[in-house]
Amino acid sequence: MRPYNAFLGVHMKTKNIVEKTMQAVFFALGMVTIIAVATISAFLIINGIPAIREIGLWAFLSGQEWRSTGANPAFGILPFILTSIYSTIGAILIGVPIGLMTAIFLAKVANPRLAAVVNTAVELLAGIPSVVYGFVGMIVLVPLVQRTFALASGAILLSAILVLSVMILPGIISVSRTALAAVPREYEEASFALGATKTETIFKVSVPAAKSGIAAGVVLGIGRAIGEVMAVLMVMGNVPNMPNLFEPARSLTTAIAMELSYATGFQRQTLLSIGLVLFCFIMMINLILNFALKRGYKA
């Protein structure tokens, strides 16, 4: 017995050391993320607040004019805020119905073979870099929009909305599809056993049962749409006007990107303030996402 026990003791000791080391490694790696988030937040708050102080929070948020250079500058970002909100809402209005229908098709209707093909397409769509979306939008969509509506330029809010609708599809599809696939088969069987058709079962049982997951997909889409820079920059025209569907507009993200390369001094500070506002928007969306996900797990 003694040798065996001694062996066991040594074994346990090495095991413990390995355990402890791994825990330390995981902890350290976890800290990297936390430090990154804390640094970014601190940076934005410290650098974003001075300009807002000088302009005044209300004047900054509700001002309708943006003239960052020139003799008589104005720093109102309401056009950017509204443009971001409008383009996001537009993308959601178009992208969510298409995405949800695709998810339903993949999870409940298509045969496994076809579903695998469509799924590959969805994954490819998710992997396309946004600059490519922007490029295709610029070459194909912008001229098309210009001709269709007989406009001076096709680089307008509407074009950005259309590009964003496609960009948010993969996220919405994959999250909703997972939620729909996770709906217990028993619910659907109960519905069929009551004489419901497949369509009735999908819309009255499966979709309601997956609603938290679908909501999470929508919020994910909102996050992606509001945070997108490159593609929007390439198709929206970037004029700091109050937004109109058929005119060029400038969003929060592109407002920063447009001027960041050359701005100095106070102008640069105002860009950081815009960054802070955008950061607050994204934080809010993440809170909603967490809430939706938590509710999803409870149900």
Partner: protein, 253 residues
């Protein structure tokens, strides 16, 4: 007594792809009686039950030969309205599976699919169905609460109420009490005694005492064959087949 047998299976075979799960089943189900299906696990009881309201249609690769008649008409013939069939032949599953909705909405779900009822008619129907399942008194004050907040036994009675809500003719029950405690089981058995006055019931059970207690007729399945069927007291007191005797006396199973 014009129509004694409401459902008749004739030379019914069912295949899951290459695997034959039912072999030439001939079984008559008399109206307004309780028919119990017994047999060891995997012998095809659930499969047979699900052929009666065509729930096996939902499984890929299922092939069926022979016929099942309901009121004399083959339900596997070309022009059968499957949704109407399932409305007339309701089903209660082994695991209580109320929808993740309110108690009220669970019961109102079926009627809303098929009829355009007024609010008052619907309320009335929900109450009648819940009373029919002996659940009304326990839930009448919390109809808007989630059905998932009920106990397992209450959930199963809710599922029975839900099945009753579309006024079926026949109720198929697949081990409806196997997930329940003895008290809830008693309640449901008692309930079935009442149900057979208005409905024809086919029930799968692993519990011999339950089959003996509640059923009028019993059918014994073994590896896809129907070994023996007949009046419950006869099957239990003097089975004709040796295998039936072995099974009900617990010598195998």
């Amino acid at each position: 007594m014009i129509e004694m047998n409401i459902i008749c299976a004739k030379k019914l075979c069912l295949y899951y792809r290459d695997f034959q799960a039912l072999k030439d089943i001939d079984l008559d189900v008399p109206a307004r009686e309780i028919t119990a299906l017994i047999g060891p696990s995997g012998c095809g009881k659930s499969t047979f039950l699900r052929t009666l309201n065509r729930m096996n249609d939902l499984i890929q690769g299922v092939k069926i030969t022979g016929e099942v008649t309901y009121h004399g008409e083959n339900i596997y013939a070309g022009q059968v309205d499957v949704t109407a069939l399932r409305k007339s032949i309701g089903m209660v599953f082994q695991k209580p599976n109320p929808f993740p909705m309110s108690i009220y909405d669970n019961v109102a779900y079926g009627p809303k699919l098929h009829d355009n009822l007024s609010k008052a008619e619907l309320n009335d129907l929900v109450e009648r169905s819940l009373r029919g399942a002996a659940l009304w008194d326990e839930v009448k004050d919390r109809l808007k609460k989630s059905a998932l907040s009920l106990s397992g036994g209450q959930q199963q009675r809710l599922c029975i109420a839900r099945a009753l809500s579309v006024s079926p003719d026949v109720l198929l029950m697949d081990e409806p009490t196997s997930a329940l405690d003895p008290a809830s089981t008693m309640k449901i058995e008692e309930l079935m005694g009442h149900l057979k006055q208005d409905y024809t019931v086919v029930i799968v059970t692993h519990n011999m005492q339950q089959a003996a207690r509640i059923s009028d007729r019993t059918a014994f399945f073994l590896t896809g064959d129907l070994v023996e069927s007949g009046k419950t007291d006869e099957i239990f007191s003097m089975p004709k087949d040796k295998r039936t005797e072995d099974y009900i006396t617990g010598r195998f199973g």
